[in-house]
């Protein structure tokens, strides 16, 4: 007799609990295509074979000085106007907060020929960003690190990090999986690190080491703190112009 209420309660619980299973489990190991699919929040599309765009979603281990993005990231895709999304102020960064994919170029840059924009010391507002289908330019800022870009795994047309006088660390880009060569470039270089006055060779070497097993990412550094002696300034400028399609 005493078992009856228990049995009834168990049956009731069983019935109430018998709801369909949702799809909110951990994303690790989920299939993805690096330039198409967006993985879950705080994941990147990890590719093992450089010849293949298919990969598996892998968790981002560290966002540096930034907090990891929380679900849902929110804004989703951001389509660029006139082929470029421009970030020139902190409010522009805020406007991109939660974006996971930028269609076109993302230009974090001072439109003036000389000077720097103040958008803070890092890019934490962009921590949900996973893909930029065009070029990524980070130039003439007062950024000290690129923290906040740890979720970025694909850039469709080259990356330029140039003329950021206070930049000392590049590891915010360490989770890049695939960077494609810009259309009008024949050098094969996909990432140019140039003219960053405080960026030393150690930081550049650390960045290279992090990306060494990703053949699609060809890094060219020039005109930085200790590299000035090693590279011809004119050559560096030329490469930078070419990679950015200028």
């Amino acid at each position: 007799m005493k078992a009856l209420p228990t049995l009834l309660a168990a049956s009731l619980l069983l019935a109430v609990g018998a709801c369909p299973i949702g799809e909110f489990r951990d994303s690790i190991g989920t299939s993805c295509v690096v330039d198409e699919d967006v993985c879950g929040t705080d994941y990147v599309c990890f590719i093992n074979d450089d010849a293949d765009d298919n990969g598996l979603c892998a968790p981002v281990a560290d966002y540096g000085a930034c907090d990891e993005p929380t679900y849902p990231v929110g804004a989703g895709d951001v389509a660029s106007e006139d082929d470029a999304v421009r970030v020139e102020s902190s409010s522009d960064v805020e406007a991109l907060n939660g974006a996971v994919r930028v269609e076109g170029n993302l230009l974090i840059d001072d439109p003036r020929p000389v000077g720097t924009i103040d958008i803070g010391e890092d890019l934490c507002g962009l921590s949900g960003l996973q893909q930029v289908t065009g070029s990524l330019l980070i130039s003439q800022t007062r950024l000290k690190t690129l923290d906040g870009l740890q979720g970025l795994s694909f850039v469709g047309a080259g990356i330029g990090v140039a003329s950021n006088p206070e930049l000392t660390d590049l590891m915010g880009l360490a989770n890049l999986m695939r960077v494609r060569v810009p259309e009008n470039s024949d050098s094969g270089i996909t990432v140019v690190i140039a003219d960053n006055d405080n960026l030393d060779n150690d930081a550049i070497a650390e960045f290279r080491a992090a990306l060494e097993d990703r053949p699609s990412i060809v890094i060219h550094a020039c005109g930085n703190l200790r590299a000035r002696q090693e590279n011809d300034d004119n050559e560096c400028a030329d490469i930078l112009d070419r990679i950015l399609g200028r």
């Binding site: 049956s11 009731l12 069983l14 019935a15 709801c19 299973i21 489990r25 951990d26 190991g29 892998a58």
Partner: protein, 302 residues
């Protein structure tokens, strides 16, 4: 054939009536279609007793005494008591005339019993002798034979009711050989309900138990994909932690396998197994209800 079943059983099917009321009713003796009894071996199993109006010279008190005698005799379950006033209501003035003046004549009373198809006529009288009030009661059968005689004398009218009750109870005991029903409450239980339930209890228990078993098994089987999914989900969380710590790409391959298992379990559960869980729960619930009904409603049945 009739029985002592309450009238609300009458509309029920005959089988139900037999189940509910069978045993105890027939234990009390054979009763024919008209409801009169057939005495066996000198014992009248359920005599019909006509309680005539108490005669005497105490004016309105006599009516009260008549009612008291009828009420006291009604307490004997084996007596079917008919009051004189009932006869009057049914048969009218003519019956009243027949009843009048018959109280002291046993032959007349015997005829009266035959005429009204009763087994006994309870004749009572009350009167005063000096300062004493005397009450007499005798049940007379259809042969004119008094089955008992009772007399009580009281000096105060206040004591008369108790004396009438005592005499009537004694007469009732003598005629029926039984106690009035409010004294033998234990003998008048609701055994018929238990008798009924005995037939249903076993099928309910067996059917309910089987249903509970089948339902629980179906729910358990249906829950397997859910358990597999939860296991895979926990494994994925663990792999995530390991990957963040070690950064080994091989962990991603393991995670991909686990994802495949999780997705397979999710689809199997959502598209099929969930119905087993629900159906099993419903069947188990119904079975549990049947078992509960068998155990609670038929608690005293064997």
């Amino acid at each position: 054939m009739s029985s002592n079943c309450p009238s609300f059983f009458a509309p029920l099917a005959l089988a139900t009536a037999l189940l509910v009321c069978g045993g105890p009713a027939f234990a009390q003796g054979e009763v024919d279609d008209e409801g009169s009894s057939h005495p066996t071996a000198g014992v009248i199993t359920q005599p019909r007793v006509l309680v005539t109006d108490t005669t005497g010279d105490l004016q309105e008190t006599e009516v009260l005494i008549t009612n008291l005698v009828a009420a006291r005799l009604s307490r004997f379950v084996n007596l079917k008591v008919i009051a004189q006033r009932d006869i009057k209501e049914r048969l009218g003035l003519e019956a009243d005339k027949q009843l009048a003046g018959c109280e002291s004549n046993t032959t007349c009373i015997a005829e009266l019993a035959g005429a009204f198809d009763v087994d006994l006529v309870a004749v009572s009288a009350v009167g005063r002798l000096g300062g004493t009030t005397v009450f007499t009661l005798q049940p007379v059968d259809e042969h004119g034979e008094a089955k008992a005689r009772g007399t009580a004398t009281v000096s105060a009218l206040d004591d008369l009711a108790a004396a009438v009750s005592d005499v009537t109870d004694t007469a009732g005991r003598t005629v029926t050989g039984d106690e009035p029903k409010d004294v033998v409450v234990a003998a008048v239980d609701i055994a018929p309900a238990v008798t009924v339930d005995a037939g249903l209890k076993t099928p309910l228990l067996i059917g309910g138990g089987v249903a509970v078993g089948v339902g629980v098994v179906a729910s358990a089987i249906g829950s397997l994909p859910l358990l597999a999914y939860n296991s895979a989900d926990r494994e994925l969380s663990s792999l995530r932690t390991t990957f963040i710590k070690d950064g080994d790409p091989a962990i991603l391959a393991d995670a991909a396998d686990t994802q495949e298992r999780a997705e397979g379990a999710r689809r199997l559960y959502n598209n099929a197994a969930i119905y087993g869980v629900w159906g099993g729960a419903v069947v188990a619930g119904a079975g549990a209800g049947a078992v509960a009904a068998a155990l609670l409603l038929f608690e005293d049945a064997p």
